[in-house]
């Protein structure tokens, strides 16, 4: 019988050891790797393609969620965290299991029972996890960094480096001075999570970083166009214009 493969991703060795102790009972599971940060975790998951991962949310430099953003497909996931004031609701709403540290063997077994036997990766699971990530941060506009992959390189950039964001079908194109990258998120997500005093949705397809705004010009047919310092021209809709005005005037 094929064994279930698992990867444990947690920045604390003691936490990983505890999980390994709990897994000793599960003869049908092999631990194919351990990672002590999200970078290692990403590499491990891509290489080993485990059936299941135990993922810590709080990790240095790159969080568990951000690691997921860089994965093409998700294995079965059990999230772990020590304390989450607001996030518990997000998990429950999306019916995704999480383990609160420290968790007992019984609680661990319960989570494992829910997840095994493994279901074939359904689009449902991907949707649920994507939704979880959207719900997770309580929709507070304090997003400070974005992550993206360039080949095998992982980049973490500050949102202040963003010039503007452009809608592209199901994705959003994020443009900085040196590069651009696609994020599998909606414009609405960015509108909610970016500081509205700094990032304004000027058009259905564009969000601009106000620091980038050079001028706002009126065209012949009575519509507006925003000129950036880098020489780009972005269209401004009527509602976008009133939003701009409101932010600038305050």
């Amino acid at each position: 019988m094929k064994k279930t493969s698992i990867v444990i991703i947690d920045d604390e060795k003691l936490a990983r050891d505890l999980v390994k102790t709990y897994l000793a009972d599960y003869s049908e599971i092999t631990i194919v790797g351990e990672a002590e940060n999200a970078f290692e975790g990403l590499e491990l998951v891509q290489k080993q393609q485990p059936d299941l991962i135990l993922l810590d949310i709080q990790m240095p430099k790159l969080s568990g969620f951000e690691m997921l953003e860089l994965l093409e497909k998700y294995p079965e996931i059990i999230f772990t965290t020590a304390f989450e004031e607001y996030a518990i609701k997000a998990f429950e709403v999306n019916a995704i299991d999480y383990l609160l540290k420290p968790f007992s063997k019984e609680r661990f077994d319960l989570a494992m029972k829910k997840v095994l036997p493994l279901k074939v990766a359904s689009s449902d699971r991907i949707e649920k996890i994507d939704q979880l990530m959207q719900d997770y941060n309580q929709s507070t506009p304090d997003l400070n960094r974005l992550v993206f992959k360039e080949g095998n390189q992982i980049h973490v950039i500050s949102v202040n480096d963003l010039l503007y964001l452009e809608a592209q079908d199901d994705y959003v194109n994020c443009v900085t001075r040196n590069q651009y990258f696609l994020k599998n998120k909606t414009m609405k997500y960015f509108e909610t999570h970016l500081d509205p005093k700094k990032f304004v949705r000027i058009h259905r397809s564009y969000i601009v970083n106000l620091d980038e705004m050079k001028s706002l010009d009126k065209t012949e047919n009575d519509s507006y166009v925003l000129q950036t310092h880098t020489g780009k021209q972005l269209p401004v809709s009527r509602s976008g214009y009133s939003r701009l005005k409101e932010v600038i005037n305050n």
Partner: protein, 378 residues
């Protein structure tokens, strides 16, 4: 026609006056309301009498009696209808039911009142013909006025009850809010970081399987650290020695979790040891150092605490290395040093006791403690 019109005016005057009076009958100003209510009724009674006497030209005795009986009785009914309202409260009955009940009750009360008083008057005095006629003809009119008055007052009393309820809820909310603020303040005072607690407990749980001796040690350390944080409530100042001991406990607990990702060194001048400092003044600095240093780096972070004695002050330095390529996950996370600055200012009445120095690789916070003669609480 003239009879009816004037009666109507008289009745409406009662009506309007009543409306204005009941509006002022708020629970808080009930006493004032009462006084106003009865005074106004008296005035109405007088007007009522005058109208009967001089417009309808009815005899003196009858005018007085009519006014007196009708107005006094009605005043009483109006005044005590509030109890009806409280009994038939909005909580227990649906609005539709209440409308039905009161529609009928109003009619009954009004009719009973008019006919009851009429009988009373008829039997108490020998009536003139003019007045008897007047009494009979005005009955239906009085019933209508009484009914309208009843409904008016009922509605107003319900509104008063609703208003009072609303006020009570506002007050309750205010109380809750201030209790919450107290709780929040208390939580802040204890400065318990939940992530720290639960992660440490998780480490202890893990060590119970692998190294029970270490698990026991860590449990004790955690308990001692927590005891120190609770102490903050009772004692304003501790010796530097004690403060450093508490902070070192914290660092050691964190080090168990992060193993080789955290290295630390503490260097205290012997002269500094007994100097009193505000309790837990260094804790936020250490938490900061670990948060911005260890939590945002995958490499080893070095933490140091130095304490030197100078002319008339003691200088404490808390420094850490950090990863300058790291971007913090959330915006607007200040360094939480404002609270420390304020505490220092409150304790020593001096500004600029806290300075920050940031280089490419190091982050250092320096605190100056003026040497003054303060008792160290045991």
């Amino acid at each position: 026609m003239k009879l009816n019109l004037n009666h109507y005016i008289a009745g409406t005057a009662d009506h309007i006056a009543m409306k204005q009076l009941t509006k002022t009958a708020l629970k808080d100003t009930e006493r004032i309301g009462s006084i106003v209510y009865w005074s106004a009724w008296s005035i109405i009674a007088v007007c009522h009498y005058l109208i009967l006497r001089y417009i309808f030209v009815l005899p003196f005795v009858e005018s007085v009696l009519d006014s007196f009986y009708y107005n006094l009785s009605f005043a009483f009914i109006g005044r005590y209808m509030i109890y009806q309202v409280r009994f038939l409260s909005l909580d227990n009955y649906s609005p539709l039911n209440l409308i039905l009940i009161h529609s009928m009750a109003g009619l009954i009360v009004s009719s009973a009142w008019v006919y009851g008083i009429r009988e009373l008057i008829t039997y108490s005095v020998q009536l003139s013909e003019d007045y008897s006629f007047f009494l009979e003809k005005s009955s239906w009119f009085r019933i209508v006025i009484g009914y309208l008055f009843y409904l008016q007052v009922i509605v107003l009393y319900y509104l008063i009850e609703v208003y009072n309820e609303w006020r009570r809820n506002i007050d309750k909310e205010k109380d809750l809010n201030s209790m919450l603020k107290d709780a929040e303040l208390k939580a802040l005072k204890y400065q318990i970081n939940p992530h720290f607690i639960f992660n440490s407990l998780n480490s202890i749980a893990s060590m119970c399987y692998s190294n029970s001796k270490h698990a026991a040690e860590m449990t004790i350390k955690l308990a001692e650290f927590l005891r120190s944080t609770f102490k903050r409530n009772e004692e304003q100042m501790v010796s530097l020695e004690e403060e450093i001991a508490t902070v070192e406990q914290y660092i050691q607990i964190e080090r168990i979790r992060y193993s080789d990702r955290l290295a630390y060194k503490i260097n205290i001048d012997p002269q500094c040891r007994k100097v009193p400092v505000p309790t837990m003044i260094l804790q936020p600095l250490i938490e900061n150092a670990i948060k911005h240093g260890v939590h945002e780096s995958t490499e080893t972070i070095r933490l140091h605490i130095d304490c030197k004695m100078q002319a008339n002050q003691m200088e404490i330095e808390v420094g850490n290395t950090y990863d300058n390529t790291a971007v913090s996950p959330k915006a607007g996370e200040g360094l939480g040093l404002t609270a420390t600055k304020e505490r220092l200012y409150k304790s020593y009445s001096q500004e600029n006791l806290l300075t920050i120095q940031k280089t490419k690789y190091d982050f250092t916070v320096r605190i100056r403690i003026p040497i003054k003669s303060t008792k160290v609480s045991e």
